[in-house]
Amino acid sequence: MSTAALRVHSVWKRFGARDALAGVSLEAPRGACFALLGHNGSGKTTLLRILSTLWQPTEGDIEVLGYSLAKDASAIRARIGVVLDRHLLPRDFSLRDGLRMYADLHAVPDAAARIESLAARLGLARRLRDPVRTFSRGMGQRASICRALLHDPEVLLLDEPFTGLDAAALDVTESVIEEIKAAGRTVVLVTHDLERAARLATHAVVLSNGRKVFEGDPVAAASVAGSAS
């Protein structure tokens, strides 16, 4: 089994004539908090969606936890948690039922207790009975993190997890990411919040126009990303 959590080798993604990713390679060790930085349209979200198995690369090889994305996508999905720009929960369900549905799909044992504890940790315990459609953007974002953590994923992929959160929710989300790191899980963080990225990440990559332009220390990466945008 590979020691790298993520191995991305010469990955291209084309949408028509446009290269959203142009030969990106990177490797994230297990337990790393890996920040993907760059301006809008740099290819960060495209790479995250490919890592999440939602999109296929046009060219190149990807391994997540030693599993090939081309051959073992289902095994990868069992081991990753993904937070995207939408919460992905059924809007007419209560938060509890929505999380229960995903817990069933992931065969989470003792799902009820897991849901209670995650909702409490993310400040949503009192909203478990409420329909998801009544949630604000920030609550939806926290519900999304609950959903992504249900099955205790080995790799957590976060696309702009801080967007739309108030100060208290920002602190909770940041401390949750710290706990995940402390538990030895790997985190991939796509964000425009360079300050937080520099604080949370252990490794960083800056993308620009689909190409990797920097890889290394998160503080230096944040500086590169800041000057590029």
Binding site: L54, A78, A120, R121, A182, A183
Partner: protein
């Protein structure tokens, strides 16, 4: 803040998650599809209303009188299946459209479920909606058009209807996955779907016609329906994965 799991970091504490079996995931998908539909019943109600309207329009268009009984005898099987088809197409169109628009489809695609399992689960739940609806519309049809059907004919009709529904829903859900993201996708669905259904519709209308006369379907007729089911199931299992990969729009 309340405490999390008893041991270790709260969010990283292992609940010993395991990969679900595909059968377990299939059952969960079908069950939750049904629960979601029962919550609001929008698909069933939309299909039911469409079926009702179609039946009422036919009841006005075709006189139900003793002097014109032969007209109804010639057309009743067609009326029944056109009604079924119009109503069920609404459910098929929604097989992916609603979930895709709400983002839920991405959530399902992120679950550790083979694409084929997701496809067969969605076929099964849509089939359940369609069969439920057909039961209701069939009773209404018998009442509105003053028809009756005998035991042997009824059994033949049920068997052929289920065989037809399997083929219809199987190919319909596949085309729905192909068209939900297209502009005018709902119209495109019908344009692509109806011509593909002609072979089974011909047979199933003949079977329904025989059923109203109290006769069972022939082995050849049932064989044709099952053959088309197998063909459509094969096409669905081969093509569905390619249709949902790269889902969710562009970057």
């Amino acid at each position: 803040m309340s405490s999390g799991p008893q041991s270790g970091p709260q969010c990283g504490a292992s609940p010993s998650a395991t990969s679900p079996t595909q059968w377990g995931a299939y059952c969960a998908l079908v069950r939750w599809d049904w629960v979601r539909e029962m919550k609001k019943k929008t698909t069933l109600i939309s299909m039911g209303v469409m079926g009702l309207i179609t039946l009422f329009l036919f009841s006005f268009a075709i006189p139900i009188s003793s002097t014109k009984a032969e007209i109804l005898e010639d057309t009743r099987a067609g009326i029944l299946w056109v009604t079924f088809l119009f109503a069920a197409t609404i459910g098929i169109d929604r097989a992916f459209r609603n979930d895709a628009e709400s983002g839920l489809l991405e959530g399902l695609l992120l679950a550790p479920v083979e694409r084929m399992t997701l496809y067969f689960a969605r076929v099964t739940s849509t089939l359940l909606f369609v069969v439920t609806l057909q039961g209701f519309l069939f009773v209404l049809f018998l009442v509105l058009f003053n028809q009756s059907i005998s035991g042997e004919g009824l059994v033949g009709l049920i068997v052929s209807a289920i065989a037809t529904d399997v083929g219809f829903v199987t190919i319909g859900v596949l085309i729905s996955a192909m068209t939900w993201s297209l502009p005018g996708g709902d119209v495109m669905l019908r344009i692509l779907l109806f011509p593909m259904l002609l072979p089974i519709l011909n047979v199933t209308v003949e079977v329904a016609d025989r059923a109203f006369d109290g006769r069972a379907p022939t082995a050849q007729q049932l064989g044709m329906l099952f053959a088309v089911d197998a063909l459509f199931l094969g096409a669905g299992s081969l093509l569905f994965e390619h249709l949902v990969n790269d889902s969710g729009g562009s970057s």
